[in-house]
């Protein structure tokens, strides 16, 4: 029992999360999204991964904005959210139209266009 508090102390987070922690999370989210886009087969999951990448950028922008004391990053976040919403609106419409026509959203079955 006595070893546990010291172990926790070593592994515990600092009292306040700093810029680097936010950037680490942001980079992780970006990497998860990126590899998800490359590796997943379902179009909808790929789409979620794309959104994850945009949100990773938004998180980093907020963290930088807070750290640097400049407001541009927060303004950029508003535009990121708007753009993401527009992309989702158009993207889901395309996916639904494609599903109606082909009855699948698996990328390995969407191979009409190839060499």
């Amino acid at each position: 029992m006595s070893a546990l508090p010291s172990l926790l102390a070593v592994a515990s987070l600092p009292a306040e999360a700093g810029l680097n922690h936010y950037l680490l999370v942001s980079a992780l989210l970006f990497a998860i999204g990126f590899f998800g886009v490359l590796l997943r087969k379902n179009t909808l999951v790929i789409y979620m991964c794309l959104e994850l990448m945009l949100n990773a950028s938004a998180l980093a922008a907020v963290a930088f904005s807070r750290h640097n004391g400049t407001i541009d990053g927060l303004v950029l976040v508003f535009f990121i959210i708007t753009v993401a919403a527009a992309e989702v609106a158009v993207g889901l419409a395309i996916i639904v139209a494609l599903f109606r026509l082909r009855h699948t959203v698996q990328v390995e079955e969407l191979t009409l266009l190839k060499n």
């Binding site: 886009v37 990448m53 992309e87 494609l98 026509l101 969407l110």
Partner: protein, 518 residues
């Protein structure tokens, strides 16, 4: 944490909102809305005139831009530094309106054969055009990102516009996924640059740190003070990767053949010409201005990219039978030549004018070819085969001649405009090679690429001019598409495009002088 809102600073910023400076973009926005309004209020019969309204409106904006080319806003920032007006930007504005007119004319030929609504197509084309014009004039990364995304989201819709065609939708989906991926990469690069450059007034701030890290000029100042900063270099490379996707440079060219084949022919033309030209205009701003302190890193990356793009584009185009894929892959190789021009621009100012001239020659030749493609293609827009061109020159000598001029100019046959474009870029690259020896290798690759490209362009001309033996049609074979009748507008446009390609090869006149001395 933020400074209290400074009213006088806000007033000063609002004072720079020179709405007259973006008059053409505002006019285009109103024109786009007007089209939708007309669709709502007009009875059925006169609605067929709406495309004409779109074309006439675009022509008026083009004329206005031409008359007012040397505006009072040249070399000034407006909108608190969001936009910067330069004569290169003016050239690109004219370029985009011109390509929008041609896309609309192409659409009048193609859309009639499809069961789709018409007016929205013109609406989106015009909105994209306005966004492209703002994109090339942006001087701030927020403006840059928003304009770029407006263009990209508009293109998602246009690419999948034939929503009863599985090809068009599949192309739309592929463009959507890869386009959004590249946007996300570009955005992450912007955020990294913003974070590194914006630590002014903080403890441990880097030298040159600025309170306006999204502004191109301020960012350039920061990069000049810290050319070795790791994060800043990563950010710049990520931003350039996002732009490289738009121009279709290797390794970001995977989407090009599929999307070009599936997209409606006018959209393929719009992507091939306007989207790519916007990518290069942005690349010129970024490489020669904003990221110029990082050229030690950027120039080698771009050089490898250019060589790979020229080789891969040309080699992949050799085996294509679908003409839309052929145009796409040969467009990849054109992006490679243009990249050589951008690299040369780092040392030789002539190269910038050469890139603009090349883009103009590419516009004229590409639209001539796409016009012919729009007439030859049948109702199945994605299936446009080289075989459909057999006997074209005998049955339709006019279309055959326009096709020959367009393809000849794309291949760079003297004395056509495409040849002059390549020549100017190669001369600029040769001059710059005195400072950047790797350009000698690139020139070698580029010349080899031009030689290879002659093979497949002339394969197409051969298909149109020399009848090949064809097996007698079998029972199950699809009949070749019927070649559409050439309307008055389309015919006049093709004549103008072909003649412009020829004349611009002989005589560049004031345009050439302006491009070379600017």
């Amino acid at each position: 944490m933020f400074a209290a809102i400074n009213l006088s600073a806000l007033q000063a910023a609002a004072g720079t909102n020179q709405w007259m400076a973006i008059y053409p973009e505002l006019m285009l926005g109103l024109l786009a809305l007007l089209l939708l309004g007309l669709e709502l209020v007009l009875p059925k019969a006169p609605r067929a005139l709406i495309p004409t309204v779109a074309i006439v409106g675009l022509v008026i904006v083009l004329v206005g831009l031409g008359i007012n080319f040397h505006t009072a806003f040249l070399n000034r920032d407006t909108f608190a530094g969001l936009l910067h007006h330069s004569d290169g930007g003016q050239f690109m504005r004219v370029f985009f309106v011109l390509s929008a007119i041609l896309v609309c004319i192409l659409a009048t030929v193609t859309l009639d054969r499809q069961p789709v609504s018409k007016v929205e197509f013109y609406h989106i084309v015009i909105v994209i055009t306005a966004a492209l014009m703002l994109l090339v004039q942006s001087n701030h990364f927020v403006m840059f990102f928003v304009a770029l995304e407006t263009v990209t989201v508009g293109f998602y819709i246009l690419v999948s516009y034939f929503r009863t065609s599985a090809y068009s939708l599949e192309a739309g989906l592929k463009y959507l996924i890869l386009g959004a991926l590249s946007s996300a990469i570009l955005l992450f690069g912007i955020v990294l640059l913003y974070g590194v450059a914006g630590s002014a007034g903080q403890q441990g701030a880097l030298p040159g740190a600025t309170a306006e890290p999204m502004n191109f000029g301020a960012l350039r100042g920061f990069l000049a003070a810290n050319p070795d900063n790791f994060l800043a270099n990563i950010g710049a490379v990520l931003v350039l990767a996002g732009v490289a996707f738009k121009i279709g440079a290797v390794p970001f060219q995977v989407w090009i053949p599929d999307v070009y084949q599936g997209a409606p022919t006018p959209v393929t033309a719009f992507l091939a010409v306007a989207s790519k030209a916007a990518g290069f205009a942005v690349l010129l701003t970024l490489v020669l201005n904003v990221f110029s302190p990082l050229q030690e890193v950027i120039v080698p990356v771009l050089s490898v990219m250019a060589a790979a793009t020229i080789l891969l584009g040309n080699l992949a185009a050799l085996s294509q039978h679908n003409v839309k894929r052929l145009m796409g892959l040969s467009g990849v190789s054109h992006a490679g030549y243009l990249l050589v021009g951008v690299i040369a621009g780092c040392r030789e100012p002539l190269a910038v004018g050469a890139v603009y001239f090349y883009l103009l020659a590419y516009l004229l030749a590409s639209f001539a070819v796409f016009m012919v493609m729009a007439h030859v293609s049948g109702s199945d827009d994605a299936d446009q085969d080289l075989e459909h061109y057999a006997n074209l020159a005998r049955e339709r000598p006019f279309l055959g001649a326009v096709l020959a001029v367009g393809l000849g100019s794309l291949a760079g046959i003297p004395p056509l405009a495409g040849f002059m474009g390549k020549l100017l870029i190669f001369i600029a690259a040769f001059k710059a090679a005195a400072y950047l020896p790797s350009l000698y290798w690139l020139l070698l690759v580029a010349v080899a690429g031009v030689v290879v490209s002659i093979y497949y362009y002339f394969g197409w001309i051969k298909a149109a001019f020399f009848p090949a033996w064809r097996p007698p049609p079998m029972a199950g074979d699809a009949a070749p598409p019927v070649i559409a009748r050439v309307g008055l507008t389309a015919g006049v446009t093709m004549v103008v495009l072909a003649f412009a390609s020829v004349i611009l090869g002989f005589y560049q006149g004031p345009l050439g002088a302006w491009l070379v001395t600017r």
